[in-house]
Amino acid sequence: MAVENACACGEKLSEEELLAKLDEVLLEYKDKPGALIPVLQIAQGMLGYLPETALKRIALGLNKPYSEVAGVVSFYAFFSTSPRGKNVIRVCLGTACYVRGGKNVLDALKHQLKIDVGETTKDHLFSLEVARCFGACGLAPTIAINDKVYKRVRPTKVGEILEQYKEAAKQGEAHG
């Protein structure tokens, strides 16, 4: 899972180059039992999501029916078949967070972002997902944006949190 969607010089690879890299991974995993899930994880790590072209390549490469590959992808919430936003928001709906209002936080985010769970905003800045427990139940309700966990989130405060990321994106554009 060390494969990143960038080469050593920091330049982004084209989709074609990434798919060629995927073929190398497939060759390596071809005869290994239980290869499907690790290969899907690697592919998503490389491409950011799992496009149809990649899934069909994986089915052929591992000699598995496409229906089976799709079945596994659609079973696990971790896998995404649509491009995800720059920032992935995951709202914990584990027991503690749920009891302390995680659902309200989720509703507030849906309202603010105007998207549903599993969707991405039109500007590709945010994707919204739900999760089961970050191991911070004492700080419930929690949400995570990328790798940063926010504790005791209140529905009225989500706007502020989102603003930081919008701001960061604007600055990134100005500098880039």
Binding site: P65, S67, A70, G71
Partner: protein
């Protein structure tokens, strides 16, 4: 060799046997649903729960190995209540419109609910998605009726090697279907209908075309004729409570006449034509290869099974040229009926409506293929399955069991004995070889010359070699030549043959492929109880009767039939797309 006690009956079983195996040996019935003998044992539905002394929980008997000294109870209060709850939960997420469901009366879930004494469903609540897929000419799927037993998944991937179906998504969103719950016409489904044959409920069924046939019969401008496949006459009786395998040829003809068909014919008529064409084509290809030293596609594969043709088009497009250019008997019949027969009775092709009754959903698909219009219009208009014909007879209020016997019409209603074995695995090849042998040697094929043996380690593939001696002058180049043949049934077995040819492991000249395990005779959906017992047993029970009708009727070899000589041959060939091989 563990010995165990089931409901106080002592039984000894082979190591590795399950409690279910042991109970069957002991003659004790345990209900099952997702289980299919030799195909699937996954303990998913929990209908086969039993109580094992000393075990904390109830166990699924289809996956629990029988242990030495085990004491099993299959009929305790705890077991009965658990099974009832399991089926109630299945029913709570099942679109139970039994009155209008085509499987009503032949539904395993319905039968289980009755058997377990379920009076009400105490678990109302969320239901799964309802997705109707009628994208293909052969099959319709209704996800709301699906109980996720995965029997269709098992046959599609293991028996057929197609893998069009798999569980998609999870929870209440979960459906069994092609990738991302798309329609069947977007994937490599071959329309063989094995999924519909094993579906315990009405979630996958043949596409119902009864109303199209009624409309034609009600149309005074149409001359409606019917052809019936040999496998039907041993199966139709089951729709009316007769024992499996009962031959009902005469009653079937009577019923078809009462339904209003203007003429009743036998697909065997053109099965003979298929044999003649296919035997001749094989000899022509051999001559090209051996004498003219031309590059010619060998082995030649049979072409009667439309699921197999679609399979090749999807999975092995490079061997399309190897498939015989003969049409299947059904399509030859349609073409002959709308040309030769039309002329005989002085009608135009478009005024004739051809219905065929087949044991096969793929035949519905085959009739709709764009190239199947050599008469200028669709050669076969509607294909009904055995079960659809049974329903039509019921709709007409005909007392089938008490019908008098009647005979098929001439000239397309008679056939040689050779065509009768067509529906069984090995039948097409045997019939074609008999014909080819007689053309080459002028003698009948001695029975001892054809030994079709299973290949060691390969289930479902058989092979034979035939040395030609005493060839007549015109075919003398075949003198001493050994013809290697193989027979495969079930598409995963066909794949083995193709791969053996590709790797050079085998060198066949002629290969028969039937899409369904056992051939057409087993394709029709057996009654629900057959699956619980295992398809092999069902096949054994049907086979002798299917074979029984193989008696010389007019002539044993199709070539010696007096009537077939006059039939135009140009109707017999199908097109390979591309390039076209239309002319004979």
């Amino acid at each position: 060799m563990p010995t165990l006690t089931i409901d106080n009956v002592k039984v000894e079983v082979a190591a590795g046997a399950t409690i279910l195996d042991a109970s069957r040996k002991a003659g004790i019935r345990i209900p099952t649903l997702c289980y299919m003998e030799k195909v699937q044992a996954i303990g998913a539905c929990r209908v086969c729960l039993v109580e094992v002394e000393g075990a904390k929980t109830l166990v699924a008997s289809c996956v629990m190995p029988a242990g030495e000294g085990m004491k099993v109870k299959t009929n305790t209060k705890r077991v009965r209540e658990a099974r009832r709850m399991v089926v109630e939960l299945l029913l709570s997420d099942h679109d139970g419109d039994c009155q209008t469901c085509n499987r009503s009366g032949d539904c395993e879930l319905q039968a289980l609910a009755r058997e377990l004494g379920i009076k009400e469903i105490t678990y109302p609540g969320a239901k799964g998605r309802k997705l109707i897929d009628d994208s293909t000419p052969a099959l319709t799927r209704d996800s709301a009726k699906c109980i996720h037993c995965r029997r269709c998944v098992a046959v599609c991937s293991q028996i057929q090697g197609v893998g069009a179906l798999f569980p998609q998504s999870r929870g209440f969103k979960s459906v069994i279907g092609p990738a991302f719950a798309q329609n069947l016409d977007t994937v490599t489904c071959v329309q063989c209908g094995q999924c519909a044959a094993v579906c315990p409920v009405g979630a996958i069924s043949e596409r119902d075309q009864i109303d199209e046939v009624w409309a034609a019969l009600d149309n005074p401008k149409k001359h409606v004729i019917v052809q019936t496949a040999p496998a039907i006459r041993a199966a139709l009786g089951e729709c009316f409570g007769l024992p499996p395998g009962t031959l009902v040829t005469g009653k079937m003809v009577s019923a078809l006449r009462r339904l209003g068909f203007h003429a009743v014919f036998d697909t065997n008529f053109t099965a003979d034509l298929t044999i003649l064409e296919e035997g001749t084509e094989l000899l022509t290809r051999l001559k090209k290869a051996l004498v003219d030293k031309e590059k010619v596609a060998l082995p030649m594969y049979t072409s009667c099974s439309p699921g197999w043709i679609k399979y090749v088009e999807h999975f092995y497009p490079d061997i399309r040229e190897h498939i015989s250019t003969c049409k299947s008997p059904q399509q030859m019949f349609g073409a002959v009926a709308k040309t030769y027969y039309a002329e005989k009775i002085g009608k135009k092709a478009e005024d004739i409506f051809v219905v065929s009754v087949m044991p096969c959903t793929a035949k519905k698909y085959e009739a709709q293929r764009p190239e199947m219009n050599s008469s200028g219009v669709r050669d076969v208009d509607v294909v009904l399955t055995t079960r659809e014909l049974g329903r039509m007879i019921q709709q007409a209020g005909i007392d089938f069991v008490n019908l008098p016997d009647d005979k098929m019409d001439s000239p397309l209603g008679i056939s040689s004995g050779a065509a009768d074995i067509f529906a069984n695995t090995g039948g097409v090849m045997e019939a074609a070889l008999r014909t080819a042998y007689e053309i080459v040697t002028g003698k009948q094929l001695p029975a001892e010359n054809l030994h079709i043996k299973p290949i060691e380690g390969l289930q479902g593939v058989k092979e034979a070699s035939l040395k030609i001696t005493g060839a007549v002058p015109a075919w003398s180049f075949l003198e001493g030549v050994t013809v290697n043949v193989a027979v495969a049934h079930g598409l995963s077995n066909a794949r083995k043959v193709i791969e053996r040819m590709k790797s050079g492991e085998a060198n066949y000249h002629f290969v028969e492929v039937m899409t369904c395990p056992g051939g057409c005779i087993r394709r029709r959906r057996p009654a629900a109880r057959d699956h619980r017992r295992g398809a092999d047993e069902a096949h054994r029970r049907h086979l002798p009767r299917g074979r029984r009708e193989e008696t010389p009727q007019v002539a044993r070899e199709p070539g010696s039939r007096p009537d077939i000589q006059g039939v135009p041959r140009q109707a017999a060939r199908r097109e390979i797309a591309p390039p076209a091989a239309h002319a004979l």
